[in-house]
C-alpha cells in the first residue's frame, strides 16, 4: 500500500511485510514502526527521509539484520531475518550487507587498508586474495594512496570513503547507509553521494540510504518518507518524473 513499486516477487531483494517495532524502556512503550510494508527491488537506490526519531535507523537496522521486528516479517536476499538466530544473522550479514555509518566507525588502531580488510577476516580467502580485494575497494573510493594512513590522519570525507570501501569489500548484496553525509560539509558530502551513485549505476549495487538532506535524497532513484511509524511516498503519489531528474527515467531492474 505504501510501496506501489511494480517489482515482481523474484526481483525484490528486500520485502518488509507489516512490520511493527516496539521498544519498551522500563514500563514505557515506544511504538516506532507501525505495520510498515516496503519492497526494494534489486538495483534500487532508495532514500529514506523523515524527522529525527521517526524510526529511520530502526528500519535500517531491521533491513540489515541487526535487530528483529516485534511482528511482521523482513525477508532480505531470501533470508527471513526475524526467524534467524544471532549466529545465522552474523554470518548472513558478513555475506550480504555492507554498512556505512554516519560517524564512519573505523577502528582507530588500524590503518585504512586494515579497516577495509576487517570484514574479510571472517572469510576463508587467501592473504593474496584479501590484499587484492582491499586494493580494489580502495581504488573504487579513490584512496589507494592513503592505504597506510590511520583514521586520525584522514579528513572526515576520506574516513567515510574508507567506510564505504569497508562496506563493499566483501561484495555485498545490499548496502545500507545511515546518514552517510550527516557529519560532512557539502563538498565532502557530494563526493560520498557521487560514490554511492556510481556504486548503484555502474556496479549495480542495491542501496538504502537514510538522510535528512533533500539534496542527498535527490541522488537516489526514489525517496520514501517515514512519518509516525508509516512510510509515505510523495514521489509515487505524484508521479516520479517531477521530483527527481533523469535518474527516474532509468528503468529499475
Amino acid at each position: 500500500m505504501t510501496d506501489s513499486h511494480s517489482a515482481t516477487q523474484s526481483e525484490a531483494l528486500v520485502r518488509v511485510d507489516h512490520v511493527t517495532k516496539v521498544y519498551s524502556r522500563g514500563n514505557q512503550r515506544i511504538d516506532v514502526l507501525d505495520e510498515t510494508t516496503l519492497t526494494v527491488p534489486k538495483g534500487d537506490f532508495l532514500a529514506l527521509m523523515g524527522p529525527s526519531g521517526s524510526g529511520k535507523t530502526t528500519l535500517l537496522n531491521l533491513l540489515g539484520g541487526l535487530d528483529r521486528p516485534t511482528s511482521g516479517s523482513v525477508v532480505v536476499a531470501d533470508q527471513n531475518l526475524g526467524a534467524a538466530s544471532d549466529r545465522q544473522l552474523a554470518k548472513w550479514r558478513s555475506r550480504h550487507v555492507g554498512f556505512v555509518f554516519q560517524f564512519y566507525n573505523l577502528l582507530p588502531v588500524l590503518t585504512a587498508a586494515r579497516n577495509v580488510e576487517l570484514p574479510l577476516l571472517l572469510t576463508k580467502l587467501s592473504k593474496a586474495e584479501r590484499r587484492k580485494r582491499v586494493k580494489i575497494a580502495l581504488d573504487v573510493v579513490g584512496l589507494s594512496d592513503r592505504a597506510d594512513h590511520y583514521p586520525r590522519q584522514l579528513s572526515g570525507g576520506q574516513e567515510q570513503r574508507v567506510g564505504i570501501a569497508r562496506a563493499i569489500v566483501s561484495d555485498p548484496t545490499l548496502i545500507l547507509a545511515d546518514e552517510p553525509t550527516g557529519d560532512l560539509d557539502r563538498a565532502s558530502g557530494d563526493e560520498i553521494l557521487d560514490l554511492l551513485e556510481a556504486l548503484n549505476r555502474e556496479h549495480g549495487k542495491t542501496i538504502v540510504m537514510v538522510t535528512h538532506d533533500p539534496l542527498a535524497a535527490e541522488r537516489a532513484r526514489r525517496t520514501l518518507h517515514l512519518d509516525k511509524g508509516r512510510l509515505v511516498s510523495e514521489d509515487d503519489l505524484r508521479g516520479r518524473s517531477r521530483t527527481t531528474g533523469d535518474s527516474v527515467h532509468e528503468a529499475v531492474a
Binding site: L66, D67, F101, P119
Partner: protein, 383 residues
C-alpha cells in the same frame, strides 16, 4: 592481518596503561619465581631426604659430639644396613664470605649411605687411599676453579691446628649429585682430623644410618636410642626427613610467609589486570558493535576480549617466568649460601597455571559483557 594482530593492536591502544599493567604482572611473576626458589631451597633437604636414612645425634643438640664407639653397637641393631659418621668442620677458605660446608667422614661408609653422590671409581679409590684427600662438589669446584690435584688450604675455626696453620686438603675427586641434593660440600677423611687434633679421636658429630626396611624406621630409631639410654651421651634418632624438617623450621615458616605474600600479590594483580581489561572494553563498546555489524559473532567478540586478556598476562608473566626459570636454573645464584637455589618443574607448572587462571579471571567479565552486547545498543552509544 590476523586475529592476533587485532588483539595486539587493541592491547597496545593505550600504551602507558598497558605498559604499567604489563610491568605489574612481570614484577609479580618475578617475585613469585624468586620466593618459590627460596622456599624450595629451604625445604630442599626435606624433599630429597631418603626414607631409608636415619640421623642419630646427641640428645642435647647437633653440636655435642657423640662417641665414635657407638658405631659398632649401632650396626648390631637388627635392620640397620650401614652406619656412617660425619662431623662438621666449619673451616674458612681465604675469607668467611666463601662459605661452603665441610665434613669429616669415613669415606667408604659415607659413600655407602649417600648413593646420591656421583663419583668416578678412580676418584673413590684415590680418596680412600689418601689421608689428606678430599672430594668436593662440582659447583664449589667451579666457584673457586679447583681441579683434581690442587692443594686447598682451609683455616680451622673449631679445629685449630697446633701450629696455627691451615689444614691442607688434596682434591682427589669432584662429585656431582642429583638435583636437590646438596652438591656444594667438601668432604674429607676423619683420620686426617683426629690424628692432628688432640681429643677428638674418640668422637664424631652425628651418625647417618641406612636401614634395610624403611617401614621399620621408627622401631629401629627407638632401639638405637635405647642402646645408649642412661649413658653420659644419650642419643636422639629421627628420620632424615624429620631432621631436615626441623632444620627448615628453624628458618621460620617460609612456606606460610611465601604463600601469604603471593596471595596478596596475585589478588592485587588480578584487580589491576581486571581493571585494565574492563576499561579497555568500556572504551570500545561502539567498536564492538561495529565488529558485530560486520558479521563477528558474539562468540568471536568474546574471544577477542579474552584473547587480549591472555595476551596481556602471558606477555607480562610468561616472560618473567621464562626469564627466572632460565636465570635460576642456568646460573649458581646461591653463592654457597643456598646450595640448591633453583625453580623446580612443579613451580614452573604452577606459574603457568597461575598465568592461565589470571588471563581468564581478568578477562572473563569484560568478555562476557562484550558477548552480551546487542548491536543496536552498542551503536547507539557515543564513543
Amino acid at each position: 592481518m590476523s586475529f592476533l594482530y587485532l588483539l595486539w593492536r587493541n592491547l597496545t591502544r593505550k600504551k602507558v596503561r598497558t605498559t604499567l599493567t604489563l610491568g605489574s604482572i612481570f614484577i609479580a611473576f618475578i617475585l613469585f619465581s624468586a620466593l618459590l626458589a627460596l622456599k624450595t631451597a629451604f625445604s630442599a633437604g626435606v624433599d630429597i631426604a631418603g626414607l631409608d636414612r636415619l640421623i642419630t645425634m646427641h640428645k642435647v643438640s647437633l653440636v655435642q659430639p657423640v662417641p665414635i664407639a657407638y658405631q659398632n653397637k649401632m650396626e648390631q641393631v637388627d635392620g640397620v644396613a650401614r652406619v656412617a659418621n660425619a662431623m662438621w668442620f666449619g673451616g674458612v677458605y681465604q675469607d668467611p664470605k666463601n662459605f661452603f660446608a665441610q665434613f669429616a667422614v669415613d669415606p667408604e661408609r659415607y659413600l655407602d649411605v649417600y648413593p646420591e653422590i656421583q663419583l668416578s671409581d678412580e676418584a673413590r679409590a684415590a680418596w680412600i687411599a689418601n689421608r689428606t684427600g678430599a672430594i668436593v662438589g662440582q659447583p664449589t669446584a667451579d666457584r673457586f676453579s679447583w681441579k683434581v690435584g690442587d692443594k686447598i688450604p682451609i683455616q680451622g675455626t673449631i679445629f685449630r691446628r697446633p701450629d696455627g696453620g691451615a689444614w691442607e686438603f688434596d682434591i682427589v675427586g669432584i662429585y656431582t649429585a642429583e638435583k636437590g641434593f646438596d652438591d656444594t660440600a667438601l668432604v674429607f677423611q676423619r683420620d686426617y682430623l683426629t690424628e692432628s687434633f688432640a681429643g677428638i679421636d674418640g668422637f664424631t658429630g652425628w651418625y647417618v644410618v641406612r636401614v634395610s626396611d624403611p617401614d621399620r624406621s621408627a622401631a629401629i630409631a627407638e632401639e638405637i636410642d635405647a642402646l645408649f639410654a642412661n649413658s653420659p651421651a644419650e642419643t636422639k634418632t629421627s628420620t632424615e626427613k624429620a631432621f631436615a624438617q626441623g632444620f627448615a623450621n628453624q628458618m621460620g615458616n617460609i612456606g606460610t610467609i611465601t604463600t601469604g605474600i603471593l596471595t596478596v600479590v596475585f589478588f592485587t594483580l588480578l584487580l589491576v589486570a581486571g581493571n585494565t581489561m574492563a576499561q579497555s572494553v568500556r572504551e570500545r563498546i561502539s567498536e564492538i558493535g561495529v565488529l558485530k555489524t560486520l558479521g563477528f559473532t558474539h562468540g568471536q567478540t568474546l574471544g577477542l576480549v579474552l584473547g587480549e586478556s591472555y595476551l596481556l598476562t602471558l606477555l607480562g608473566g610468561g616472560t618473567a617466568l621464562a626469564l627466572m626459570a632460565w636465570v635460576l636454573n642456568s646460573f649458581d645464584l646461591g653463592g654457597g649460601m643456598f646450595p640448591v637455589l633453583y625453580l623446580p618443574t612443579w613451580g614452573i607448572l604452577l606459574g603457568c597455571f597461575l598465568l592461565l587462571f589470571m588471563g581468564f579471571a581478568a578477562g572473563a567479565i569484560p568478555a562476557w559483557q562484550a558477548h552480551r552486547l546487542t548491536i543496536v545498543d552498542a551503536l547507539r552509544r557515543k564513543g
